[in-house]
């Protein structure tokens, strides 16, 4: 099955949106996961709930609120455009942002679990050797939590490939700009005779998602072997 130029464009755009979404969420997700796993502060439960909100809210609600705050006429959106020239509304960057918000809880969850699994006694040992909290996080905790960080990132990437509701609400369905795989499939199902096209794109979607999940497994296994220093590294 060879892809038509239109299909290539949809796939390329989807991958671009998902990549940027995952890459941009990575630093804040690591920070949030670390805070949730290793620190105590006032309002932590509320913070935790807020982080998880996109997981349970209808995606349309997320998209609608993004539109309300970051639309070109909305206060934050106008401010960003005026001072930094950054526009999210009806751009692929907006699609990436919507995907990032939707994938964030998944990413944080996987990372948090693996940070919590890091032996705190190793962190204590590092501190007795003279390392401050930040250094302990950078040299001990995060490297040992690497498998979870990789899985979280790829989960969020795969989730972004399938994002629909928040994207279409926030940045609409513009060919070449915001029409990612799910939006394209949806579009074909709305026109007479589009069934074959919808099926082709669905198969592409399945193949890409499957590849992302398999890759996350392989990478995580390698990272686990590397942190354990077992024979599997050689």
């Amino acid at each position: 099955m060879s892809l038509t130029p239109d299909e290539w464009e949809v796939l390329r755009l989807s991958l671009k949106v998902a990549l940027w979404s995952a890459a941009a969420s990575l630093p804040p997700a690591v920070a949030v996961a670390y805070l949730l796993a290793r620190t105590r502060f006032a309002g932590k439960s509320l913070f935790d709930a807020l982080v998880h909100l996109p997981l349970v809210l209808p995606p349309v609600v997320i998209g609608y609120f993004l539109l309300l705050t970051l639309g070109r006429t909305a206060p934050v959106g106008a401010f960003l455009e005026q001072h930094f020239g950054i526009v999210f509304a009806f751009r692929w960057t907006g699609a990436a942002l919507a995907c990032a918000v939707m994938g964030f809880p998944l990413m944080v969850r996987a990372m948090r679990l693996s940070i919590e699994a890091v032996d705190e006694r190793l962190e204590a040992a590092a501190r007795t050797l003279g390392a401050g909290r930040l250094r302990v996080a950078a040299t001990i905790t995060l490297p040992l939590a690497l498998p979870g960080i990789i899985i979280g990132t790829l989960l969020s990437f795969a989730r972004s490939l399938g994002e629909f509701g928040a994207t279409i609400t926030f940045v609409s369905n513009i060919p070449g700009e915001t029409r990612t795989l799910p939006l394209a499939i949806f579009t074909y199902t709305q026109v007479p005779g589009g069934d074959a096209q919808a099926m082709r794109l669905s198969l592409i979607s399945i193949a890409v998602s499957l590849a992302a999940l398999l890759a996350s497994e392989v990478l995580a296994r390698r990272a686990t072997a590397a942190t354990k220093g077992s024979d599997a590294t050689r």
Partner: protein, 363 residues
């Protein structure tokens, strides 16, 4: 000098510890659950006492009244844990260098190559911790702690997870380190042999409190601690020197202030100082010098004290020259011999009961 005076309330367990020691190696001794590890964690700064003060060599690490609580990473104490706690994602070399790189260059006094040689780590440097045996891991952990250029060293039962042979080997390395790096050492243990071999001061802990504190000779000579410390068994500690070795019989003659002792299998060379621990129950008493007897050590002395240890058991202190030997005998035996203060007696000690307790000590 180590001065500790702390309190910590942990619900069911209450720690209230106060002592001061002046030796280079202070042993914290007591059965598990007596609060030894909690105390070491408080010294290291890993846990925070409710109130009190902790001081090592005139450096105040914690003082609730003065509002001082130095963070763990700035206390500069090398901590060797029960489990080695090596970083699994780093090679042995990087584990060793972890603390060294964080120490201010001006305060570095322990050299990498020197530690590698002292602890025999050269062939392990490229390996990962997962590829090391238990004994090797503990050696790396000791090296890593030393290379962090610490002002004092905390060792929390570093031999706990090792078999007898490894224990002996690591104990040898710890001895070498003790004589090599001249910093205060706190050694946590529930094994009398280790305490006698390594420490010069000992703090006996029981149920979160100090049951006894003093020099090893003082504290080990007390038989009244049995109930308090449980694992602690009364006896005498005598500093001696090897004056002769008979390799054919593997027998060493040790001279002390009060006579000579015959010991087996000491592993010490002639001229070497040794410390001998004689358990009170290994010492028998006789009113006349026995003849035709297998016992190799017959020491002439005088009874300095007789007291009942518990029902049916009497603790007799026998002054032999300048040292005091403890003997536990039954009440019936004491009555039959009519033991009393000032009476001349012969203390009998089997040479084989001295073997593993007579150990080199370059004090």
């Amino acid at each position: 000098m180590l001065r500790v005076d702390v309190e910590r309330d942990l619900g069911a367990f209450r720690m209230r510890v106060s002592f001061e020691t002046h030796g280079r190696v202070t042993a914290l001794f007591g059965r598990s659950g007596s609060g030894k590890t909690s105390l070491v964690n408080a010294i290291a700064g890993l846990t925070r006492p409710d109130r009190g003060r902790i001081e090592i060599d005139a450096q105040v690490l914690f003082d609730s009244a003065g509002g001082i609580d130095r963070p763990v990473e700035r206390r500069r104490l090398g901590y060797v844990f029960q489990e080695a706690r090596l970083f699994p994602h780093y090679s042995v070399r990087r584990n060793l260098m972890y603390g060294r790189d964080l120490a201010p260059p001006a305060e570095r006094y322990v050299d990498f190559d020197h530690i590698v040689e002292l602890l025999g780590l050269a062939h392990l440097l490229a390996r990962r911790p997962g590829e090391l045996s238990g004994g090797e891991k503990q050696r790396v952990a000791i090296g890593r702690a030393l290379l962090s250029q610490p002002r004092a060293l905390l060792l929390d039962e570093p031999l706990a997870s090792l078999d007898a042979q490894r224990k002996d080997e690591i104990l040898g390395y710890i001895e070498r380190m003790r004589d090599d790096v001249r910093i205060p050492i706190v050694y946590v243990s529930h094994a009398v042999e280790e305490v006698v071999r390594l420490a010069d001061w000992v703090v006996v802990m029981s149920a979160g409190a100090v049951a006894a504190a003093g020099t090893v000779e003082e504290v080990m000579g007390r038989t009244d601690l049995g109930a308090a410390a449980d694992v602690f068994e009364g006896g005498s500690v005598i500093d001696a020197r090897v004056v002769a070795q008979d390799p054919a019989y593997d027998i060493a003659t040790l001279a002390f202030e009060g006579g000579t002792l015959v010991a087996t299998h000491t592993g010490a060379a002639v001229g070497e100082p040794v410390r001998v621990r004689i358990r009170a129950r290994d010492v028998s008493l006789a009113l006349e010098a026995p003849r035709s007897i297998s016992i190799q050590n017959v020491l002439r002395g005088r009874i300095a004290a007789v007291r009942t240890l518990r029902k049916g058991v009497v603790d007799v202190a026998v002054a032999v020259g300048a040292v005091t030997l403890r003997s536990s005998v039954t009440q019936r035996a004491a009555d039959q011999l009519a033991l009393e203060m000032g009476q001349p007696v012969f203390a009998l000690v089997k040479a084989v009961s001295l073997d593993r307790r007579a150990v080199p000590y370059a004090g």
